[in-house]
Symmetry: C2
Subunit: 431 residues, 2 copies
Amino acid sequence: MSIRFQIEASNGAGRLGRLITPHGVVETPVFMPVGTLASVKGVPQDLLEDLGVQILLGNTYHLYLRPGVDTVRGMGGLHGFMSWDRAILTDSGGFQVFSLTELRKVHEEGVTFRSHLDGSSHFFSPESAIEAEIGLGADIIMAFDECTEFPAERERVRASMELTLRWAERSKKHFEEHKRRVPWGTSAQHSALSIQPKRSGESPADADRSVRAPQKIGKLRSPGQTGAAVPAWAGTLPTTGATQSLFGIVQGGMDLELRRESAERTVEIGFPGYAMGGLSVGEPRAVTREIVESTLPYLPIDQPRYLMGVGTPEEIAAYAALGVDMMDCVLPTRAARHGLLFTSVGKVSIKQARYANDAGALDPACGCRVCARYSRAYLRHLYASNEVLAQVLNTVHNLSFYLDTMRRVRHSIRLGEGTGFLSGVSSQPKP
Amino acid sequence: MSIRFQIEASNGAGRLGRLITPHGVVETPVFMPVGTLASVKGVPQDLLEDLGVQILLGNTYHLYLRPGVDTVRGMGGLHGFMSWDRAILTDSGGFQVFSLTELRKVHEEGVTFRSHLDGSSHFFSPESAIEAEIGLGADIIMAFDECTEFPAERERVRASMELTLRWAERSKKHFEEHKRRVPWGTSAQHSALSIQPKRSGESPADADRSVRAPQKIGKLRSPGQTGAAVPAWAGTLPTTGATQSLFGIVQGGMDLELRRESAERTVEIGFPGYAMGGLSVGEPRAVTREIVESTLPYLPIDQPRYLMGVGTPEEIAAYAALGVDMMDCVLPTRAARHGLLFTSVGKVSIKQARYANDAGALDPACGCRVCARYSRAYLRHLYASNEVLAQVLNTVHNLSFYLDTMRRVRHSIRLGEGTGFLSGVSSQPKP
């Protein structure tokens, strides 16, 4: 096993946990920011560390196309490539390929699809997707699944669910046979204690370009740059000999019975963690919640449970209260790029003229570096002027708001406070 | 006087100085990053502080159009608006309007021009430009001048120079009559010691949105976030009662005689500092240098001398050695956005495929946070994938390279080392 999951407290169905990975501890319930192309759009890694991000998500489909798995593998996997020493999770590409409605074709063997970049033809099977995920070297990787379209007939949903189950077996088989090839797992040179991951692929001829010894880097960085309260490596599993962890994915469309069957049969195959996929694909939010609520009881209580692609701040808080441990969503980062900012008093569309002369902080209740320093008027000006800094600052704030929301959820579970705190979490537009 | 300039050492014509402004000390020779729209594109203010930026440049033309002078004035000027407590300089808009070749018309009274944004018609006179600059509230503001086109006949150059001289008189007159209206100068609430400038324009009704007391901000910021070796306020002039400083601009095209006459007559009008304008407008670089070298002796030796819009790293080092104290240029920031990076071994075009698997630092001799953390392969990937982080990181590196170049120049002047260090400054493409 290459992760450990410890439940430290619970409150109703919600639970507080520690997910110990080869690259640091992740406090759960956790919201995972999305770094599609090995970058959370516009935000340098040291700012993510300052925000307290303990785990990032990367997209296998995108990274497979650019820069390519071999390049990432050659740099020691995503950790070395993007210089991120904390935990990473990759999806399998299943959902991304599913989004290419016009450009894909699903067979028993796998999926043929065309790149959204240049139309070139590619093929993902459970084996090749897992192969890519091993090369990318995330701590947690996902089985290759078919994300069932919505709406769909029951027979179609069942067939799709059965395909995902067969692919889950194949994913697991390939992973078990090849998991020792993880780029960092067998490298004695990698130390979880070094701030800077050793970059593999450096030949002696490159030595003159690689003078960054750990002690030099230690000196160059000011203390504030890696300012997490808990060092990333505290409780980290030894990476030497460690492998990644493969999670299974429950499908079954919007059918409670099929969801239950998918959960039971995925658990039978056996994974160290389970995700609920195929949600947030256009169904009403009440349906999403019903599916999640009815599926959770069929997932092992002592293993991490991951709800993929959800949601608003209220939703992530509510799902955490239901017992979900991990969530990811592009909403905070994508909304930031459109000037939509989450605050303690509701959603703010910063482009509005009403903020042009507003000297107040974006969210006076927020402690992030954006709210501590800049006015709404300045943020509005940056957005209206199409300045790149708008994207940087807006993204930092929205991520901070999401991470703070989850901190409050964890705090509340620890204190056994119930979910009264949810009343303070709102994404309704500001009145 | 609202600035003081102290020369601390000299070496040949080069001199080491301290320019003391109402918003902190600027060590000269200095390179001033350009923050056109109250933002250095893509770089948050705390990163600029970490880089050691002591003075920023803002563009009056752009800020006049967006967000407008009244908005900036209402927030306490640029310092309050963009939350930057260190020194700022604004140009007068003369050069920007000059760049609108097809959209402007010059009269004795001023310049009529059309906005590059929406084609709307506007008018700048020396009086209205200075009025705008007072509202923006930079520590140093520039007289409104005509930037003579290149090439131009001698008579045209003379006429343009004479116009600039008349406008310099009018600029000074308007400034002297209105300089007490600077947004921060008369505010007893502004303290140069507070990290967060008090935002004016806050009514009591806004109080609930303005809970950012200095001590709260002090706690929220980690020490590394404001990591300059010398605090920005050390030696700062008291802002209460302080005013801005208006610099004159020497014109005269590429004619040494007219440049000399322009310098002498501008000095006769009398300013606390002088700029050389109308250069880097298409003339050969040897001509620029000849003009600068022949003009400097006619500028007061005990006052700051500012060369506008120049240049490459070699050029800024060479001009500093000639006795220029201040320079600005869009080159490091603009080149960064095009993936052109300055390093100790020459210019690197990071988009090139040769860097796709290059695990080395961009510039092993550079101590910036980009070179300390990321590989060329990662920077190449970000640029090739059009990730916003490419612009952020590339800009941070290029600015760091420029600021380091000036640090070395200052160090070299202090030690009386001559300009041998220039051999290490190169913008030739990497072989």
